[in-house]
């Protein structure tokens, strides 16, 4: 039982990273109707900035500075590469973000180098016992931070004026424009928020285990998460992220010997298989809005 609970907590820890990443995807999707494939690059950028900044300052301060810089990077990318493409087919814009990802990630990789970079976080690989269950401190820290961030984000969307403007722009851009909402600013802010969330995910992903070049593939696991939760649902992203994290951890722990063909690292593809299964039943994900079509 304790083993099971420990696995679940580990899953929740990883799942909250997926949730953070997925929230970034959903925020961009809500404002521009585009899936941004540039999120992995922002994630790596956030991580690598902290790993360099932490050499000269406190970890928490380093995280704060790195998130601000990542947000600026996100805004810059939106202004240079995405703004000229307003009104073009979404497929084209999505491919542009792929190009952006390739460029930024190459630059970031040159700052990572071939070694594993340590984040200098206070948690490391230390464990703690809670009600008889042994858990990694970093997983707990990730989960708590994610919950705080998600609560803040929802409050921002629900009660602030800017949040209202963002919701308005997402439901109808022209009407929002007519009401005096600056849609351009909404785009810019969405990219800043998404980049920050991805950066935060990057920091927590590499606490303890360190940052290396191949870690970017984790960011793509947020794609099954957003499909599962529905592309335009913030709540769905969080729930699906945690679910996929837990399922992945459980399969990793108990399903290792399912079959020799699948291999021991079968849990790596579990999110994608889960996504395919759900899509066969619900084409718009669990909480996504069904598109209404006119001819």
């Amino acid at each position: 039982m304790n083993d099971f609970l420990a696995t679940v907590v580990r899953g929740l820890g990883n799942g909250s990273i997926y949730a953070l990443l997925a929230l970034g995807f959903v925020i961009i999707y809500k404002s521009m109707r585009v899936i941004s494939f540039a999120q992995p690059a922002f994630m790596m950028a956030g991580g690598v900035l902290v790993s360099h900044l932490v050499l000269s300052m406190n970890f928490f301060l380093a995280v704060l500075v790195s998130l601000l810089l990542t947000a600026l990077l996100g805004m810059g990318v939106e202004r240079i590469a995405l703004r000229p493409m307003i009104g073009k087919p979404v497929f084209v814009i999505a491919i542009i973000t792929l190009g952006v990802d390739i460029v930024i990630r190459t630059v970031v990789n040159s700052f990572i180098g071939l070694d594993i970079r340590q984040m200098g976080d206070p948690w490391g690989l230390k464990q703690l016992k809670l009600l008889g269950v042994t858990i990694d401190q970093r997983h707990l820290a990730t989960l708590v931070t994610t919950l705080v961030v998600v609560a803040a984000l929802f409050a921002f969307y629900r009660w602030s004026r800017t949040g209202l403007a963002m919701r308005a722009a997402s439901s109808d851009q022209e009407v929002a424009l007519a009401q005096g909402v600056s849609v351009g600013r909404v785009f810019s802010l969405s990219w800043a928020l998404a980049a920050m969330l991805a950066g935060l995910a990057g920091v927590f992903l590499s606490t303890g285990i360190g940052l290396e070049q191949n870690l970017w593939l984790t960011a793509l696991k947020a794609l099954p998460v957003i499909i599962l939760g529905g592309l335009d649902s913030l709540g769905g992203a969080v729930i699906a992220g945690l679910t996929i994290g837990v399922v992945e951890a459980l399969v990793g722990n108990y399903g290792g010997n399912l079959s020799p063909v699948f291999g021991g690292d079968f849990f790596l593809v579990v999110p994608y298989l889960l996504m395919l299964l759900v899509l066969l039943v619900k084409p718009y994900g669990l909480f996504g809005t069904r598109e209404v079509e006119r001819i």
């Binding site: 585009v34 899936i35 590469a81 000229p84 493409m85 073009k88 979404v90 497929f91 084209v92 999505a94 491919i95 542009i96 792929l98 190009g99 952006v100 990802d101 390739i102 460029v103 190459t106 630059v107 990789n109 040159s110 793509l220 794609l223 099954p224 957003i226 499909i227 592309l231 063909v261 699948f262 291999g263 690292d265 079968f266 790596l268 593809v269 994608y272 298989l273 996504m275 395919l276 899509l279 066969l280 084409p283 718009y284 079509e293 001819i295």
Partner: protein, 368 residues
């Protein structure tokens, strides 16, 4: 019609494969140049060109489903892998204890088989595609790449496993071996000519497909699937057809792609490969066959060109271990910037640039 070559009296004439004299002369010229090239270029360049021709077959396949039918697929690498392994297994050594092999080295047989197996896989995936659209489909096909990559890495009897790999298909046609140096031609010259002939065959086939009833139906599905359904196009059927044909092309390209290096590694069929093919059709020109070929040539030759850069720009180093900027970084950044640049400044790709040049000279000295 002497002297008035652009006067068309029937729809058939207008839709003909080479409907203007300019196209006829250009095609003749290009084919002549392509046939004469192996006797003028170095062998290592010929191998790169042959690889580019194979990539062009794959790019044509992707363009059929993404460009013509409008179904964004990031799963092309998966179908390439299926083709590559079908061919490798069919022509593999039947006595090997480590790997599956059937010893069928005849090129037409394994080429067709790998196309058909990949096409079948495409048909299996297609029902999902019929239900989904746009970016949902893109993400699902991306999932396909990850699942396939995992499967191929672990199916050691078929693929040889990560880092080990297996020998690629053996190209042999009526007793003629393509992958060994002969008395008259070198290996590179033979492979180049073989790939060129195959590219012409598959290119003409695809061109014929898209100017037929099927091609028009695909374009209707792309432009507005609901409207297409209303005017009587069976959308599900055509989406499935597009996926099957595209996967067939991918299978063929996958089977041939590794003949040049003679070796397949399961880790190479990843997302980066899918993105590379997407880049080919975007840089070349969406929904054009000639554009796919131009894009494939461009993207495949790009690393070759950047390799020459350190000679011109001394601050770029050619080894990956030294400090400073390496050519690999320059290559990747250039590749990313090309994708962004083409989409922002010339969405019609290289084909669009060609159209601009053509229009300029056609209407010269007037601007319109």
């Amino acid at each position: 019609m002497r002297g008035r070559p652009l006067l068309y009296l029937s729809y058939g004439q207008d839709m003909a494969l080479l409907n203007t004299p300019a196209k006829r002369w250009w095609t003749l010229g290009l084919v002549l140049v392509a046939v004469l090239l192996p006797f003028m270029l170095e062998d290592d360049l010929l191998v790169v060109l042959a690889t580019a021709f194979v990539a062009a077959i794959g790019a044509i396949g992707l363009n059929l489903v993404t460009g013509y039918a409008g179904q964004v697929s990031l799963g092309h690498a998966f179908f390439l892998a299926i083709g590559a392994y079908t061919a490798a297994a069919l022509s593999g050594d039947p006595d090997s204890t480590r790997l599956i092999g059937f010893g069928i080295t005849s090129l037409p047989i394994w080429l067709l088989a790998s196309g058909l197996v990949a096409g079948l896989a495409g048909l299996i995936v297609a029902p999902l595609a019929a239900r989904l659209r746009g970016l949902y489909l893109a993400v699902v096909t991306l999932g396909l790449v990850f699942i396939g990559e995992h499967l191929f890495k672990h199916w050691r009897e078929l693929t040889g496993g990560v880092g080990v790999g297996r020998p690629a298909a053996v190209p042999e046609l009526f007793g003629l071996q393509f992958a060994v140096d002969g008395a008259m031609f070198t290996k590179a010259q033979k492979l180049y000519l073989l790939m060129f002939v195959l590219l012409v065959i598959f290119g003409v086939l695809a061109r014929n497909l898209v100017r037929s009833r099927i091609g028009r139906a695909l374009a209707a599905v792309r432009d507005r699937d609901l409207a297409a359904e209303v005017i009587g196009v069976d959308v599900t059927r055509y989406k499935m057809l597009a996926f099957a044909v595209s996967s067939f092309y991918a299978g063929v390209a996958g089977a041939l792609l590794y003949v040049m290096i003679g070796f397949v590694e399961p880790g190479s069929f990843n997302l980066a490969m899918s993105v590379q093919y997407i880049a080919m059709i975007l840089v070349g020109g969406v929904a054009t066959i000639s554009g796919s070929i131009m894009g494939a040539l461009f993207i495949t030759l790009l690393p070759r060109v950047t390799r020459e850069l350190p000679a011109v720009l001394p601050f770029i180093s050619s080894s990956s271990t030294a400090g400073g900027i390496t050519i690999f970084q320059v290559e990747t950044i250039l590749y990313g910037l090309l994708i962004i640049g083409f989409l922002i400044f010339e969405p019609r790709g290289l084909f669009g640039i060609w159209i601009r040049i053509r229009t300029y000279w056609k209407s010269w000295p007037f601007s319109h």
